[in-house]
Amino acid sequence: MTPADRSAAVVIVGASVGGVRTAQALRRESYEGRIVLIGAESELPYDKPPLSKQFLAGQWAAERVGLLTEAAAEQAGIDMRLGSVADHLAVAEHQVVLAGGDRIDYDVVVVATGSLARASPWAAESGVHVLRTIGDSRALADDLAKGGPVLVVGGGFIGAEVAATTRALGHEVTIVDPLEVPVGRVLGVEVGALFTDLHHRNGVTTHFGSGVESVEGRAGDLAVRLTDGETLHAATVVVGIGARPNDGWLASSGLLVEDGVVCDEFCRAVDAPEVFAVGDVARWMHLGHGESCRVEHWTNAVEQASCVAHNIAHPDELRSYRPVEYVWSDQYDWKIQIVGRPTRATRHQLIGDLARPTGPDATKPRAVALYADESGRFTAAAIVNWPKALIASRKMIAAGASFDEAVTALRQVAETPPAPARTPA
């Protein structure tokens, strides 16, 4: 054990997008003290959205998914310590204790340890993958390169993206999910069914409504037995059944941890104001929703990092964090964006057509599904291939528009012919 580092600092635990952006935003907020950024992986910090898409497909190299280089960290005065696993947090001593026993003093600590892929409940000798880290993506790409059919367990967005990517690489692909309409969980059954059709149009087989009983064999020769009795064969299996917050290392801290670090509206741990949390691991009080929330989206990590950095640098003018949720997914020729919380909606309306091309140049389908809560407020939207509908929806949800106003406005967007191409002013 080395002696504790005595100089004061903001210590950020976790070097994915939430942690890196907090460090950078602290400098933008003119914070001049020390910043220590601790990352468990020895890789330079990297961005995760491309890991199921361009990086998995081999279109983008590792440099293109990088979030922070050694040179950029040094220039910003960020003391980056990679390959350092935080073992526990000693709240009374204001120290982060690393797995090797080293202790790092903090004035303020930011918990940014993200989430972990839910492990496969089915053990095979090899060939069964989850997808969360860059190492996961590389290992999957290595197995995919050997060819053969791919079976994806989980019809949510990660599973659908993997299916789309591997299909484009030429694999025979099947998706299994215990729900009849997996995307219906988020967008409702009517809209969710359109996402199932998208798989079929692209030659992907879906096996929805039955779960996985067992996976046996090894890479290249796997047998997947389903709960309905059928057995499917695949060379590679990808399990995309969700994530859980990476908060186990805080078990001994005494902090309130309940499916994430429980924070106030300023993203400070409710029982230790010098502890902040950001990104997937943060469960904070969203005053706009009137309840605590945890969000596993890229844009949330970035926006929350800005808010946390502001609140650390300016403790006398704390800002509450109350974002409108935003997430995107790219599947086949659909660019999908979801704004707000459609899971909480009581009714919806679809404008446009997702079964056939309807865009301005009629090459791709486009549509927007608008969602309302029971008070008639416009609370969420799901947009496919329609940039103007995306912008109108985001602005109207942020402004608190009514559902009726939104339907009228989006119909007008649908009827407006595309503007001639503009050039920069």
Binding site: Y326, P387, I391, K395, P418, R422, P424
Partner: protein, 65 residues
């Protein structure tokens, strides 16, 4: 003087910039960013920095000339 730049080939139309700085950025019908002005004022700078920071594909930048 601060000048805004965009890599139009990289832009994917996520529209985070339009939310952060609507006086500076828009997205066209094809889903590509449109710069509504080239030079930005000091008052706009914080919002534009937020836009640059929130771009998922790092397509935006500010240059001081």
């Amino acid at each position: 003087m601060a000048v805004v730049k965009a890599d139009f080939g990289v832009c994917q139309g996520y529209a985070n910039c339009v939310m952060a700085a609507p006086s500076v950025y828009d997205i066209d019908d094809d889903g590509t960013v449109v710069l509504l002005k080239a030079e930005i004022s000091e008052e706009e700078r914080a919002n534009v920095e937020e836009a640059v920071n929130s771009c998922p594909v790092s397509a935006l930048s500010i240059e001081d000339e």
